[in-house]
């Protein structure tokens, strides 16, 4: 064998051996579809319609076994009050799980309540909040054990059997959507009611809202009426500058709402 032939054959053998077995498999369309699902969940909140009844929080806590006594919640409603003398107040007493039954503002444990003269109220509105299920979620990025993750249909979940409760994800979330579960002793967050949406039902909060302030959709289905609103109308997201690409869209945002 000449040296030239030897070199040629060596290259052929090496090239052949370096092709991975998987590259020779025929591509099954079903597998490709499973890897690129046609479902991607998104949320739409119309703040104009919210009246702050807190039925969403009640339904969420009941559906997902979050204790009512603990001051944590997967979803909550914020009240924004602007006075005519240009002061701004925000509160969410007990995540608004019993609604807003007082006109005074809850300033927090150490500051008591702020009475506001009804004639002094300039504008006021309510904003429901929940996990934004970001496209690039910082919370799943920081998990040291791989216990929190984004599913293929775009929902961020926590593996309760694998979570070590270190709290990195709670710190990493720019929206404060995560908390430490008082009885399960793991990080917890909104799951978009994964057990409901995968069965074709609405989430507990969407279901409970009498005013349709909350809506859900599959954002890859352009014929979905809610997807059409997101695509065609003026919607915004919270904390866009963080670059997490939230999937909860808001109608009627103000710069104070973050």
């Amino acid at each position: 064998m000449k040296r030239r032939d030897f070199m040629k054959k060596t290259i052929v053998v090496i090239a052949g051996a370096s092709v991975p077995l998987s590259a020779l498999d025929l591509i099954d369309p079903k597998e490709v579809l499973a890897a690129n699902p046609e479902i991607h969940w998104a949320f739409l909140i119309d703040t104009y319609k919210c009246v702050g009844c807190g039925f969403c929080v009640k339904a969420c806590k009941t559906e997902n076994d979050i204790p009512f006594e603990a001051n944590v919640s997967r979803t909550w409603v914020e009240r924004y009050v602007y006075t005519k003398d240009d002061r701004r107040y925000v509160d969410s007493p007990q995540a608004a799980q019993y609604g807003f039954t007082e006109a005074k503002i809850d300033l927090g444990e150490h500051f008591g309540f702020q009475e506001i003269d009804p004639d002094n109220v300039g504008k006021a509105f309510f904003v429901p909040k929940l996990c934004n299920h970001c496209e690039t979620p910082p919370c799943t990025q920081v998990c040291p054990v791989g216990a929190t993750y984004k599913t293929d249909d775009g929902v961020v979940l926590v593996d309760r059997s694998w979570c070590i409760g270190c709290g990195y994800c709670i710190m990493a979330c720019p929206f404060g959507a995560r908390f430490f579960h008082p009885t399960e002793h793991v990080a917890d967050k909104c799951t978009f009611c994964y057990h409901r949406i995968t069965k074709g039902l609405e989430t507990a909060c969407v279901n409970a809202c009498p005013f349709s302030a909350r809506k859900m959709c599959n954002i890859r289905d352009i014929n979905d009426p809610v997807t059409k609103i997101i695509l065609n109308e003026r919607v915004g997201v919270l904390k866009d500058e963080f670059g997490t690409r939230p999937q909860a869209f808001y109608i009627g945002l103000a710069s104070e709402v973050r």
């Binding site: 993750y149 984004k150 279901n207 409970a208």
Partner: protein
């Protein structure tokens, strides 16, 4: 180059190899990444199913599906309710989650408390909010210590029909 220069490199390579070897044995086989890659979705693939299997508590699918679950047996009531002022409120908001009703529980625990009505009907002076469209009362003055449902019919709340 002398060996004392290379030795730390070999130590580092050894440590990395040891970690990778430990990881290969320690991480269970069902761990993997999905569509969002290693950074965002490295997890136990069986856990999606765990979340899908959570029990349902609220069975009514709300206005969008016209109270499908409740309507199966209470169809007549559901039809009347969707017509009236409170028709947009899902049954389970006041009647409680259906769970496995009618088997378990046989009767739902209806919330008839004042607090439930006050969620919407507390008077808040917010003229720019949708709240202004809902009639409100001051809970400290309006028939304190009485149940709203003693006078008002939640299924037909029109004052002229009281």
């Amino acid at each position: 180059m002398k060996s004392h220069v290379w030795r730390p490199l070999f130590v580092v390579i050894g440590i990395v190899a040891a970690i990778l070897l430990f990881r290969a044995f320690y991480v269970p086989d069902n761990f993997g990444s999905g569509e969002y890659g290693f950074m965002y979705s490295f997890h136990n693939k069986d856990n999606d199913e765990v979340w899908k299997q959570q029990p349902l508590k609220y069975r009514d699918t709300g206005k969008q599906k016209m109270h499908e679950y409740c309507g199966e047996c209470h169809g007549g009531e559901v039809e009347i309710r969707t017509e009236d002022l409170h028709g947009t409120i899902p049954c389970e908001n006041c009647h409680g989650p259906a769970l496995d009703h009618p088997e378990n529980p046989e009767l739902l625990a209806i919330d008839r408390s004042r607090d439930l009505c006050l969620r919407c009907h507390t008077l808040l002076p917010y003229t720019t909010s949708e709240r202004k469209r809902i009639p409100g009362i001051d809970p400290k003055e309006h028939n304190v210590d009485e149940f709203c449902v003693d006078c008002h019919n939640p299924h037909n709340p029109r004052l002229e029909d009281m």
